[in-house]
């Protein structure tokens, strides 16, 4: 396939694998424990499992699968809020497909649909706006999710709705921000991470600067990377090179897409429509300062939370869940006390089992080692 197969070439992968092993041999004598490298983004986790990348790595590298899956970190209370909006008879509730199965404390959106709620799967916020045009007598709510990757398209849709004077369209906004979330992971006192692979599609929007504190203040090397298997192997090699040379910098493997200053038009749209919230809760990580955005006062007419006076519900995650310890690299998914027992993809209890991009679900579905666990 044009423009994709080039980044999945198995010969080049073998070359990169060898280069990684060569560097690892240099580093290994200096290590007291294996290196723990975190891929923050669920998209990277997906690629690592899909292509079996972990098995190509030397023993001195352990991948830690981070919290960067917007569906996984959606708190249960917000799902309950979404369900409460969706069951209103005047509402058509629209959502990306993978958010439909996320469990709330009583039901998921999929189950709400089974009980009669008008929940529809869309492929973009523009599809939701189309539904609003076609159903002027109904209120169409879009379940806005995701890091900075998906924020621009949601913001542009709101701006389009404003231009057209559409009154029956609103967002239930759950967008979250990457840098504060990584900072929350870094601030954990028992952190054991040695480096980061950072999400290329987020950097495409926000540029490199928001990641610089990680190298500067926390002395962790970081490489911004794309989503194809060769992207990830090359980024791992770049990360090891920094470690071997005892450097900490923000490097850009995904230069074919990511401009150092990001995308100004996208950022303008985001800043026009969204403003940082004081706090936002992330499932498995708890409340994190400035980790979410809400809608600015100018766009309150498109804010479902204000239109329907949503009183945010807080639901505590089950205490048996050890998602936090998995995310911090303290334990592997299969070492969690409820992994594969009480917590499975059919009945997810913890955040990381919810979406196929979550670390636990990925191990459960694809992990060879989990089969023996």
């Amino acid at each position: 396939m044009k423009f994709v197969d080039e980044f999945r070439d198995s010969q080049k992968a073998q070359y990169l694998k060898q280069a990684i092993h060569n560097l690892a041999q240099q580093i290994e004598p200096t290590l007291s424990r294996p290196l723990q490298l975190m891929e923050f983004c669920g998209g990277h986790t997906h690629t690592i499992f899909r292509y079996g990348i972990e098995q190509l790595l030397p023993d001195c590298i352990e991948m830690v699968h981070g919290p960067g899956c917007p569906v996984c970190v959606l708190p249960m209370g917000r799902v309950d809020d979404a369900v409460n909006l969706a069951i209103r008879p005047e509402v058509i509730f629209t959502t990306f497909g993978d958010a439909m199965r996320v469990p709330g404390s009583t039901m998921s959106l999929l189950q709400a649909r089974g009980k009669g709620a008008d929940v529809r799967m869309v492929y973009s916020p523009m599809d939701a706006l189309n539904l609003a045009r076609q159903n002027p007598e109904r209120e169409v709510i879009f379940f806005a999710l995701g890091f900075e990757t998906t924020m621009p398209s949601t913001a542009l849709t709101v701006l389009q709705a404003e231009r057209e004077g559409i009154k029956n369209f609103s967002l239930f906004c759950n967008h979250i921000t990457t840098a504060p979330t990584i900072k929350a992971v870094l601030d954990e006192p028992d952190l054991m991470l040695d480096g980061f692979l950072a999400p290329g599609h987020v950097a495409m929007v926000i540029g490199l600067q928001p990641f610089e504190f990680i190298a500067r203040d926390y002395y962790k090397p970081l490489v911004i990377t794309g989503f194809e298997p060769l992207d990830i192997l090359q980024a791992l090699w770049m990360l090891l090179k920094q470690i071997a040379e005892q450097r900490c910098a923000v490097e850009n493997q995904y230069a074919r897409v990511v401009q150092p200053t990001g995308n100004k038009a996208a950022l303008n749209a985001i800043h026009q429509v969204f403003a940082t919230r004081e706090h936002f809760e992330l499932r498995g990580l708890g409340s994190i300062d400035h980790s979410g955005v809400g809608m600015t006062a100018n766009y309150s007419g498109f804010d479902a939370e204000r239109k329907f006076a949503v009183k945010p519900l807080t639901v505590i995650d089950p205490k048996e869940c050890q998602c936090g310890a998995v995310i911090k690299g303290l334990i592997k998914p299969w070492e969690c006390q409820i992994f594969g027992k009480a917590c499975t993809p059919e009945t997810p209890m913890g955040a990381l089992m919810v979406s196929s991009e979550g670390a636990c679900a990925a191990y459960y579905n694809h992990g060879y080692r989990s089969a023996a666990a």
Binding site: M1, V4, R8, S10, A13, Q14, G43, H46, F49, R50, Y51, G52, I53, E54, Q55, L56, P70, V71, F96, G97, D98, A99, M100, R101, L110, M121, Y123, D127, L145, G146, F147, T149, T150, H201, P229, P345, E346, S355, S356, E357, Y364, N365, H366, G367, Y368, S370, A371, A372
Partner: protein
């Protein structure tokens, strides 16, 4: 052929009176056109000795079809309703002979569309060498069903000596598929019109009974065989591994997948191994017969892109492994719920 103009299904078409009799006679009896149906008895009757001459076991199956949209590139609900049931019989090695047809119609459905579906069922039945010999029609209020639901049941005869079961896979066996994976699932996504795709994929909807009989001629000892419908190839392989208590490993680089289908999957974050197929079978055959079986399949119009995709292992028992193009391995598990597009 009756011209139905703009006529639609009304509750009278299911009420047992003249309207229903006319519909059955003009649409179904004339449409399906065979000596069993035209007697208008409440049941079809078969000569036992004729059945016994063809094999030693009867095979029977039923399935219901509720696809949306009703018409898609490469097929429609009628073609699907015949193909699906014929293939369910064929996967046991049976020669499919007779089908039933139960229709649940929504009030207001255009009769000319129903006539198209009936014509498609007849053409598919003829191609598969089966007859639709008895049926049933119900009409429900507008909104109580989605346009048309079809149930078909099928009867076939299994020739002597054929014993195909999901529990028969043996270590060393070879896994074969008869062509491109995921075409039907991709065609349905396209037909729903939610994505403005540049190129359209045709559904692979096709009866496989003739191909199966050709395979059985060179290898009467086919161990396992199943058509990879809902849940796709990954689900079938898991069923074999689980029922037989063996491991199965497939090679990613050997999987026949069209560029267009890969494109749809990339776009939506789907895995073609879980996409539905309506004309694909997965067979497990003894290694020493694999080359012969593959040769026969490649020479058959329903198998011209057949490929060996994997092998049966002693371990891990009940699990399917996918060997990636990078040399890594991962589990290929059964799907949890419906395959839903990812957010990013």
């Amino acid at each position: 052929m009756t011209d139905w103009g703009e006529q639609t299904i009304t509750l009278a078409h299911g009420a047992g009176g003249k309207a229903m009799r006319d519909l059955i006679q003009k649409l179904f009896v004339e449409g399906f056109d065979n000596e069993h149906l035209s007697t208008l008895e409440d049941q079809a009757r078969f000569d036992l000795s004729a059945l016994m001459a063809q094999g030693t076991q009867l095979a029977m199956t039923t399935d219901s079809y509720v696809v949306d949209p009703l018409f898609f590139a490469g097929g429609d609900i009628g073609k699907l309703a015949v193909t699906g049931t014929v293939n369910d019989l064929a996967m046991s090695g049976a020669i499919p002979l007779y089908l039933t047809c139960g229709m649940i119609l929504e009030e207001g459905f255009p009769i000319k569309d129903l006539a198209k579906i009936v014509a498609s069922m007849k053409a598919t039945a003829d191609a598969a060498g089966v007859k639709i010999v008895t049926g049933d029609t119900k009409v429900v209020h507008k909104g109580a069903a989605d346009k048309v639901f079809i149930n078909t049941a099928g009867l076939g005869v299994i020739p002597a000596g054929v014993n195909i079961s999901a529990a028969n896979a043996q270590v060393g066996d070879v896994v074969i598929i008869n062509g491109f994976i995921g075409d039907h699932g991709a065609a349905i996504v396209d037909a729903r019109g939610e994505l403005a795709l540049e190129s359209s994929v045709l559904s692979d909807c096709q009866p496989l009974n003739d191909l199966v009989q050709a395979m059985l001629k060179v290898c009467p000892d086919i161990h396992c065989m199943r058509d990879a419908t809902r849940g796709g190839v990954a689900t079938v392989l898991n069923e074999f591994a689980h029922s037989s208590g063996v491991g199965i490993r497939i090679e990613q680089s050997s999987l026949p997948i069209r560029e267009e289908v890969r494109g749809v999957c990339e776009l939506l974050g789907l895995d073609p191994l879980y996409l539905a197929n309506e004309g694909k079978l997965v067979a497990v055959v003894p290694k020493d017969k694999a080359a012969q079986v593959l040769e026969v399949m490649l020479a058959h119009p329903n198998g011209d892109n057949s490929a060996i995709i994997g092998e049966v292992l002693a371990a891990p028992k009940g699990k399917v492994l996918l060997k990636t193009g990078f040399g890594g391995e991962r589990l290929l598990d059964v799907l949890v719920g419906e395959q839903l597009p990812r957010i990013c």
